[in-house]
């Protein structure tokens, strides 16, 4: 039993790290722009495809392919911010609809280009096994956990130690006050979308080699990311990080007790339970005027 538990905790930490990247990107965009981007999952998926493309066609280096994928997705994010979301500010309904439309465009665009079947990406880290006691995991598991750990730490330092990062956090906490002290809101929007999309790409590029690359690979990370930012308290950056990790571990461990078919249901039931008991989320603060 202890073995199985350890196995699920490590699996959960790995998936949780992926959810963390998605949730962190979404919470940055939500906090700064108040945009709930349901297309974040397909951007994650495109990240996997672009990484695959660079790796097999151009670079033959996993690291460079990941960086290339992040760069491409940043550009896509920039275009979406400028072309769509900035124009729909203050119109929640249309933002949601537009992001659903983008899912249609991007998901089916990928199917049209790469076909509906899953792509495989052979890299050495998925073949190397790391034994822990009687268990063994692929090296990719630990590569994911390590990379995400470093990235999240770097983002946190960026947000707390640099000028633009502090400005981002300030905007996300109080947009009006940020404007009063002279922070350029448009620059903040660009920054949040750039970082958010790059993180999504990183997630797709890290998970792709392990679980294949396919058109719906971003759907569950999107839903878990959404759950994470709510459970963590909408707009709370540490909440999203802890929420993502927590969801990964909880859903993995739950498979020991509950049929796997209900794994996702457990997460969403937990989400609703949190909303009932603590509507502001676990790490959120109740803000004035919010009903």
């Amino acid at each position: 039993m202890a073995q199985a538990l350890l196995e699920q905790i490590i699996n959960g930490t790995m998936m949780g790290s992926i959810y963390m990247l998605v949730a962190l990107g979404m919470v940055l965009i939500y906090g700064v722009m108040h945009v709930l981007n349901f297309a974040h999952g397909v951007l994650f998926m495109v990240g996997g495809y672009v990484c695959h493309f660079f790796f097999t066609q151009v670079l033959d280096s996993y690291l460079l392919a990941i960086l290339g994928s992040m760069a491409v997705l940043s550009v896509i994010g920039l275009a979406l911010e400028r072309g769509v979301f900035r124009r729909l500010r203050d119109n929640l309904r249309m933002q949601v609809i537009a992001s659903l439309g983008l899912i249609l465009v991007i998901q089916n665009g990928v199917i049209a280009i790469w076909g509906p079947n899953a792509l495989q990406m052979r890299i050495t880290t998925t073949d190397i096994r790391v034994p822990i006691g009687e268990l063994s995991f692929t090296l990719q598991h630990f590569l994911i956990i390590g990379t995400v750990g470093v990235t999240v730490t770097a983002i946190w330092l960026f947000l707390t130690r640099t000028r633009i990062g502090t400005a981002l956090r300030a905007t996300s906490q109080n947009a009006e006050a940020a404007q009063v002290v002279g922070i350029d809101a448009n620059r903040m929007y660009v920054a949040s979308f750039l970082i958010g999309c790059a993180l999504a790409a990183l997630g797709g590029a890290l998970l792709g080699p392990l679980f294949l690359i396919f058109p719906t690979m971003g759907d569950l990370p999107l839903l878990k990311g959404l759950a994470a930012i709510i459970i963590g308290g909408m707009g709370s950056i540490p909440g999203a990080i802890i929420g993502g990790l927590g969801i990964g571990i909880v859903e993995a461990v739950s498979t020991l007790y509950i049929p796997t078919d209900f794994r996702d249901t457990v997460v969403f039931a937990a989400l609703i339970a949190v909303l009932l008991l603590r509507p502001q989320g676990l790490f959120g603060v109740r803000v004035r005027g919010e009903a």
């Binding site: 609809i97 537009a98 899912i103 049209a112 049929p259 609703i272």
Partner: protein, 344 residues
């Protein structure tokens, strides 16, 4: 100018009524007109099974301004309730459908009580989560819902003897009339609500929640009431769908279907009485019109949708309305022109 306005005021509704009458007559006579075109009847019935939940969603999205991304989950609750009552308990079609709609509506109220007080962002995500949970239950509670296979053999209503003719609902033409009556009922509910004081309060909530409350609208109670009605209509549509397809299967009620329902409502024109019908018609007909590679067709659909959010947020109904106005009295008066024309 006044004579002109009076003229349009008198003729516009008359022309509208005439158009409605023609459409209604055509709709009623369709089984005769399309007697040798069963495929078209099939498409029309399918359209209605999408239009009814879309009417429910339109009341929410178009009139009240709430987004629900799990509406087909509620449709599924209505569908499975109706199917089980008919198959296992021998209920006849109409009471079973009423019970199915009621079950979906009650579930909607139960979900709404804790969640409608949340900020709208939270509410959207909760509806998504509820839709997913419901799908997981349909798909996995094999003992009740038949799991992924679903419940095959959902019966259609028994024959109706009108004296001068007997309508057999098991045949396509007969079932078409049944579906038409259910759709008209949903349209009537929508019309009554939109044209009432209740509907005016909902429109107030959509435009400015804070102002609506300051004017005396109990925002939460109104949202809860309309969410219950909306989910009940979704349940009614779900019940009709499984009767038509003769099987209650989870894939009809998955997340993607809920999202498509939102999209078709927007394309048809949220906030217009005819929006859900137009949207459902386009949604069902588009695969026929655009007969090229599947994926690119959906890409195009998505592009049109994003463009609509940016440039035509009122959907096809809004475009038709604007075009109609332009035809009648030249370019419509815009807000700016009106403001320019104000007395100093």
């Amino acid at each position: 100018m006044t004579a002109m306005t009076a003229l349009t005021a008198m003729t516009a509704p008359r022309a509208g009524r005439l158009a409605i009458a023609i459409v209604a007559l055509l709709a009623l006579a369709a089984p005769f007109l399309l007697a040798d075109q069963p495929y078209f009847l099939h498409v029309l019935i399918l359209t209605m099974t999408f239009a009814i939940p879309a009417i429910g969603l339109n009341l929410l999205l178009g009139y009240t301004g709430l987004v629900s991304l799990g509406h087909m989950g509620f449709a599924g609750v209505g569908a499975y309730t109706t199917a089980l009552l008919m198959m296992d308990h021998g209920w006849s079609a109409v009471p079973a459908m009423a019970a199915g709609a009621a079950a979906a509506g009650v579930l909607g109220v139960l979900v709404g009580i804790p969640c409608l007080r949340l900020r709208s962002h939270f509410f959207i995500i909760v509806t998504l989560a509820v839709g997913m949970i419901l799908f997981a239950l349909f798909n996995n509670l094999d003992g009740i819902t038949g799991g992924a296979e679903g419940l095959p053999g959902v019966p259609r209503p028994g024959p109706l003897d009108l004296g001068f003719m007997v309508i057999d609902f098991r045949r396509l033409g007969g079932f078409y009339w049944f579906a038409l009556v259910v759709t008209l009922f949903a349209l009537l509910v929508q019309y009554l609500i939109v044209r009432s004081d209740f509907g005016r309060s909902l429109a107030a909530i959509r435009q400015d929640e804070i102002l609506a409350a300051a004017r005396g609208v109990n925002v939460f109670a109104h949202k809860l009431a309309i969410f219950g009605i909306s989910t009940a209509l979704a349940g009614l549509g779900g019940a009709l769908k499984v009767m038509f397809l003769r099987v209650a299967a989870p894939l009809s009620f998955e997340l993607l279907e809920s999202i498509n329902l939102v999209l078709l409502t927007i394309v048809g024109g949220a906030g217009y009485l005819a929006g859900p019908i137009i949207g459902a018609l386009v949604y069902v007909a588009i695969p026929e019109i655009l007969r090229f590679a599947d994926a690119w067709r959906l890409v195009l659909f998505g592009v049109i949708l994003v463009a609509m959010t940016l440039f035509a947020p009122r959907g096809l109904s809004g475009m038709i309305e604007a075009g109609w106005r332009r035809l009648r009295r030249g370019p419509a008066v815009t807000g700016e022109e009106a403001a320019d024309g104000r007395p100093a």
